[in-house]
């Protein structure tokens, strides 16, 4: 096997270039050195959690990279970085989306929501977050932001899901701790809290 030819390596390359724009720009400007050839900067405006953010984005930069490494929104997690686990789930126009598998520049006209944007202005937790606390839904918590976003997406589309509908809606979110039952208890509790 030539490791360079695998899809895995390709995606890693994409992610690495995402990280590059922030850190490289900062480092080269700090050290006064010339940027190497091929270094591209592109200013993109994206709407994240209700705020328009201007951000340097490379052509193949994923949304997860931008959120985590440029905007500091580290609540969005990377479990696999290749569309298998759902840890990176965010909402794009209310639709749960794997942020590791979409490119930032394709969301210039969209509404992106991350787990950091759910609390109300006065600091109250979103009902899904509150319900997940009450039901002790998370275990290690690494998949939790993704589970929260999928659940919020579900309840916006269907405020009264059955447990089975919730199970299907969240089935793109793996929980290695196996806390599925507790997350479903949380979703059903959130339905009650929203009333």
């Amino acid at each position: 096997m030539n490791p360079k030819l695998t899809r895995r390596r390709f995606i890693k390359g994409v992610i690495a270039s995402g990280a590059a724009a922030t850190t490289t720009a900062a480092w080269y400007s700090a050290t006064g050195q010339e940027k190497p050839s091929g270094f591209v900067e592109r200013l993109v405006r994206i709407n994240v959690n209700g705020q328009v953010r201007n951000v340097d984005v490379e052509p193949q930069e994923t949304l997860a990279s931008t959120l985590r490494y440029k905007l500091g929104l580290t609540g969005t997690k990377l479990g696999c970085n290749r569309g298998e686990c759902g840890a990176c789930t965010v909402l794009v126009n209310d639709v749960p989306t794997y942020a590791c598998s979409v490119l930032t520049h394709s969301f210039k006209n969209d509404r992106i929501e991350t787990v950091e944007g759910l609390e109300s202005a006065n600091g109250d937790l979103h009902p899904v977050q509150q319900a997940f606390v009450e039901e002790l839904s998370p275990q290690c918590g690494y998949c939790t932001p993704g589970q929260v976003m999928s659940a919020v997406g579900l309840l916006r589309e269907n405020p009264n899901p059955t447990r089975d509908e919730a199970r299907h809606a969240l089935s793109g979110n793996i929980c290695r701790c196996g806390s599925y039952d507790s997350y479903l208890d949380g979703v059903m509790r959130a339905v009650e809290l929203i009333g």
């Binding site: 890693k12 937790l125 918590g141 690494y142 199970r167 806390s179």
Partner: protein
């Protein structure tokens, strides 16, 4: 007993941070001037590095340096199995050879591609029985096995011996290890039903959701290391040794950990954290090493695969007379664990057989690192032994519930080849509770009922793990504000045990929970040593230490009150955060006032004198740094007697479709027997989480390697197939016995591991039941195996092979 906190639900302090995304995992941290490390890993399964030419890479803009095995092992690499930080002698694909630091990951990857490594290819093997063949390849340099204190050795069988085992017969080779008790021959003679057959348990990766990324920097001679671990102080204690930094100069920061399951309990399983630490030291910059899912697979560890032969005899009344077990363990590329022995121990404990013999041989393969994974051994044997019990029950005309009740362990019994007495054992109560809540008897009429191509299967299973240790240290502190500070080095694994064990301290001092602070998350907060958080031990081990530390504080409070207010220590009690005379509660003082006096007095009251002599070095460092800063309770826990068990019982009903080979779990209940229940919601989480793991073990998860090239084929979630929402029942019911264990001050024991074993046992029994008692002798039982069985075609292309589609 009525408790103020124990047995009641509470919100552990880290939960809000988990639902808001605010809590930080290692990769969420940044540091001014931070640069990025990438690993160059071995592309071949067994090799020797002859030359590394990094000149081109090192000349690139933005590259700061590389770290090789020669840097980390200047006196030569350790000649033993076990993970190394970096190596020139890789024994599996993906083993780290060197690390390179650059301004960003893209530059690091580009530079790594410019490094030329010359490898000498060496023979490799992916199946232990292949390695045992006379001409089989050896996984390690110097042999295919490692003998403790003697080094590498070569173990070979004759071709006939391997072929006979693969054909289903008892191995005739000399085992590396034999452990036995009882008269095996007599016990088999007394048996009226004897089962004999071979089996395989596939190894599979841990696949923790958070990859093992780490960040490190040095400042004022101290190393600050950010990483995820199951333990906190125990892990820090170990990684200090691996990195070679004095314990007092390491600050390990680990607020949260994205899953552990055994593989992140001890530093020896995660030596790769030394890479950013050593690179940072070499290039004098903070270094972040982000780990990919693929790297997490190769260095993240796996369960040992077991290839075995089992013979079990039952007396006419269903009593298990004898069990004879022979297991070849797959130790992978870096040495393994003691799973096979634990499998025999588990049978002895759960079924109280009159005679047990265990024979085992451990053989390396050039596959992922093997080590502790949730119930190592106990949980692999669970799906193997449970269907055997059921077939024996049917043969002997005993009910499937009764055969378990007849053989059940109970208080006063002993278990395991060492014949260790239980501290307590309420398995009969757990069996009864599971049966009653599930309606086991009532459901028997549904057994093997068909509906078109679908058939109902019922299963019952038991799980066990030794669940408690002792001999650790506890520290609690209080300031003039009267708040109780529990200095907690347990670690935040996701079980909330670190928080639940702190309840023991609050209970002793009758403190309201909102007046208790758990001090944890980084070792420069001065935390005592505890046992690594594995083996379901945390609850038992650390309730002992925190209870003891709080008792020490309570005794000191009464001393101070008696001195200040008159009377004897025995005349005092506490309530509502006050120490007061029993006869007249108005004569007393608040905890804050007592603490302030203690701080004024100093000496033993503040940890400046009379510390327990037996404190571990790590605790001494913490206690010395805390000395004089507050009112201190401190305790070294003596050793306990006996085996504190964690038990579970699971019942389930499945509907198996004979046309597709798929099944759906219609109903499932798991009951825990773990002494006093500290935290009901935490217990529920362990039961449902273990259930999901049990489903994976029984039906889904396995390592796959390309035997031609030794390349892993199951590095991702979809290839290794961890269970998803849709593989699990819509609801898993839970319950617990809740009777106290006398060897623990609050009666509690652990549960995390058996919760998987009983589910795997019950589910495999249900599959067997649906297929009229067919014993596959395998975990996992996959859809294709079920279909092949129904079609009457051969299930195995290579019998008893590990790391392929069967094993």
């Amino acid at each position: 007993m009525a408790y103020m906190h124990i047995g009641k639900d509470f919100t552990p302090p880290d939960v809000p941070g988990k639902v808001t995304g605010r809590i930080k995992y290692a990769e969420d941290y940044t540091r001014e001037g931070m640069v990025y490390a990438r690993l160059l890993t071995s592309p071949i399964p067994h090799a020797r590095v002859l030359d590394i030419d990094a000149s081109e890479a090192l000349a690139m803009d933005g590259v700061f340096g590389i770290l090789t095995a020669d840097d980390v092992y200047p006196d030569g690499e350790p000649q033993s199995t076990g993970l190394k930080i970096l190596t020139n002698e890789p024994t599996l694909v993906g083993e780290p050879i060197l690390a390179l630091a650059a301004v960003d990951e893209k530059t690091a990857e580009t530079a790594i591609a410019a490094i030329s490594v010359t490898f000498e290819r060496l023979p490799f093997v992916t199946d232990p029985l292949d390695s045992l063949q006379p001409d089989g390849a050896d996984a390690y340099n110097g042999g295919n096995t490692f003998v403790f204190r003697q080094g590498f050795a070569q173990e070979k069988w004759t071709a006939d011996q391997v072929a006979s085992f693969r054909a289903g017969n008892e191995p005739t080779a000399e085992p590396q290890q034999t452990v036995a008790y009882g008269d095996l021959e007599a016990a088999f003679s007394a048996s009226s039903y004897v089962y004999e057959g071979t089996f395989t348990n596939a190894g599979y990766p841990h696949m923790s959701m958070e990859p093992r990324s780490a960040m490190a920097y040095w400042e004022d001679g101290k190393l600050y290391l950010y990483g995820g671990s199951q333990s906190l102080t125990a892990f820090a204690d170990g990684i200090a040794g691996i990195i070679g930094v004095p314990k007092e100069d390491l600050v390990f920061i680990n607020e949260a950990t994205g899953g552990g399951f055994g593989q992140r309990a001890r530093a020896g399983s995660v030596p790769v954290y030394a890479v950013p630490a050593k690179l940072s030291q070499k290039i004098n910059r903070p270094v972040m090493m982000r780990t990919t899912r693929e790297e997490e697979f190769t260095i993240g560890g796996a369960r040992q695969g077991l290839t075995g032969w089992i013979k079990v005899g039952f007396k006419p009344d269903g009593v298990m007379a004898a069990c004879d077990l022979w297991i070849v363990s797959d130790n992978g590329g870096k040495g393994g664990g003691a799973d096979a022995y634990s499998a025999a121990d588990c049978i002895s404990v759960l079924y109280q057989a009159d005679a047990v013999r265990f024979r085992g041989t451990a053989i390396g393969t050039n596959t992922a690192h093997r080590g502790a994974q949730r119930g190592p051994g106990q949980n692999q044997i669970a799906p193997i032994i449970s269907p055997i019990l059921d077939v024996a029950a049917d043969e002997l005309g005993v009910s499937r519930f009764d055969i378990r009740k007849i053989n059940t362990p109970m208080t006063g019994d002993v278990g395991g080849p060492q014949r260790t007495p239980f501290t307590s054992a309420y398995m009969p109560e757990a069996l009864d509770m599971a049966s009653a809540q599930f309606g086991w008897e009532e459901r028997q009429s549904r057994r093997r009922q068909t509906n078109g191509s679908k058939v109902i299967g019922l299963g019952i299973g038991q799980g066990y793990h030794n669940a408690g240790r002792s001999g650790m240290d506890g520290i609690v502190m209080m300031g003039a504000d009267g708040r109780l500070k529990v200095h907690n080095g347990v670690g935040n694994l996701g079980t909330y045990s670190y928080a639940a064990v702190s309840l023991a301290a609050a209970e002793v001092l009758k403190m309201p929970w909102d007046r208790v602070d758990i001090i944890t998350g980084r070792t420069d907060l001065h935390l005592p040593i505890t046992s690594p958080q594995d083996g379901s031990n945390s609850i038992f081990t650390n309730t002992r230490t925190f209870y003891g530390a709080a008792q020490d504080m309570l005794a000191k409070m009464k001393e101070i009150a008696a001195n200040e207010l008159g009377g004897a220590v025995e005349d005092y009690d506490i309530s509502n955060e006050r120490v007061h005379q029993i006869a007249d509660e108005t004569i007393g003082m608040s905890f804050g006032e007592v603490a302030a006096i203690g701080i004024e007095l100093g000496g033993k009251y503040t940890g400046e004198a009379e510390l327990p002599e037996e404190l571990a070095e790590w605790t001494q460092i913490a206690a010395n740094r805390l000395a004089g800063t507050g009112f201190m309770g401190i305790f070294h826990d003596p050793r306990h007697e006996g085996n504190p068990p964690g038990f579970t019982v699971t019942c389930c009903e499945i509907e198996l479709d004979k046309e597709t080979g798929k099944f759906e779990i219609l109903d499932m209940i798991s009951i825990a027997e773990a002494g006093t229940i500290m935290h009901p919601k935490g217990m529920d989480n362990q039961l449902v989480g273990g259930a999901v793991w049990g489903i994976g073990l029984s039906a889904l998860e396995r390592h796959l390697y390309d035997p031609q090239n030794g390349i892993p084929a199951s590095t991702g979630y979809w290839q290794s197939k961890v269970p998803t929402y849709l593989d699990c029942p819509l609801k898993i019911d839970t319950g617990w016995v809740d009777l106290p264990d006398p060897e623990n001050p609050v009666g509690a024991r652990g549960i995390g591991e058996p919760s998987q074993g009983s589910v795997s046992a019950a589910l495999t029994a249900a599959i067997t039941d649906a297929l009229d008692g067919h014993i596959f002798g395998a975990s996992p039982i996959t859809t294709d195996m079920i279909l092949n069985h129904i079609a009457g075609t051969s299930e195995e292309s290579v019998p008893l092979a590990q790391n392929n589609f069967r094993g």
